[in-house]
Symmetry: C2
Subunit: 183 residues, 2 copies
DNA sequence: CACTAATAGTAGCGACTCGAAACTATTGCA
DNA sequence: TGCAATAGTTTCGAGTCGCTACTATTAGTG
């Protein structure tokens, strides 16, 4: 355990991310587009607006606007205007978008092949790291609905006390932009 | 352990890398420049040429050429022409470059604060992942000199059997572009 | 030793991306 | 009703990246 460990770990994360990004180009998507597509594929129906993508990815609304437009041109997402708030838009993945988002990347296969102990420790460590870092910066966590303090379990899914809506079982494991850690 | 674990881990890596990149801009460096600077600060004296940065970072030589020129403009690196091979150049960090490369980023502090068990497991998992991935792609590992199969320990440092040179103790923990895993 | 191939690095171009600022439209607030 | 805040878009300019072509140097081959 040398004193340079933090920088080594940071370098590993950066390098792995770069290697993973490399695969995006094969699908004709730049990294920002792939990030948005992946986010949308995992976000719940209240969290699929441009501003949410913007908050998640850390880029401006203007940039995200262009990114989503590019995804739409490529037929991967489609926009749906809100009926309650006529300013807001929600993006949904098309079948092609779903296929692309759920496509297994080379790095996924490698992760899947790791010993379960290793991958579990890896996930826990990364999650811990992200939580600490977001805590320092006041950033939003975008955690899973089910782990939010506004979430109540029900026999057939869940219930969000913040938005006052029932949730299907599948929805409780999606990302929510309103997420606040339990407790 | 859901079936989506690989994608969750990939998303965590990507997001952490993005958050870490965000800090680069504070130093007036774009991510590519910060990657090059960090690489140069950790590479041994045989591994500081543009082509090595190119192989490490995965961008083209042309791009790296521009990146290094930007770093030179900012006074962070200085070039030194080789005497043996007049085509090749080696880049060294200036004092300002050293200072910037070794500056602690917010994410480093967070990593340093993790329980030792967690960070050790994290590093091991990430290294494992990188090794597997590079193995699949035939990419170079850029590992530490000391862990290379051409390295022999000596009482006062080490010796590289590939390049036939003696190594100071500090050099044995630097990155080498010729690195091949032991055994 | 000459000739060719390979390597190291650079230059210029074009496509694209990103962020900043200004803008429209809609909603909330007082 | 009027003003501020919010959601999203547009435009523009700086900068980046990869590609191709180029020079210079070194290695390989007969």
């Amino acid at each position: 355990m040398t004193p340079h460990q933090p920088q080594r770990i940071r370098a590993l994360i950066d390098r792995l991310a770069k290697l993973s990004e490399g695969e995006d180009w094969a699908a004709d998507l730049n990294p920002a587009q792939m990030t948005a597509l992946n986010y949308l594929s995992r976000a719940n129906r209240f969290s699929r607006a441009p501003s949410h993508v913007s908050a998640y990815s850390g880029s401006t609304r203007g940039t995200v606007s262009q990114t989503l437009r590019a995804l739409e041109r490529k037929g991967l997402v489609s926009e749906r205007k809100s009926e309650t708030d006529r300013r807001s838009i929600s993006f949904e993945l098309t079948d092609a978008g779903e296929a692309l988002a759920s496509a297994e990347k080379e790095i996924d296969r490698v992760i899947a092949d790791l010993p379960e102990e290793t991958s579990a420790a890896l996930e826990a460590g990364l999650e811990n790291l992200l939580r600490q870092l977001l805590g320092l910066r006041g950033g939003k966590a975008f955690g899973l609905c089910r782990t939010c303090r506004h979430h109540r379990r029900k026999e057939d899914g869940g219930y969000c006390e913040l938005l006052s809506v029932d949730l299907k079982p599948a929805e409780t494991t999606q990302i929510c932009h309103e997420h606040e850690p339990a407790q």
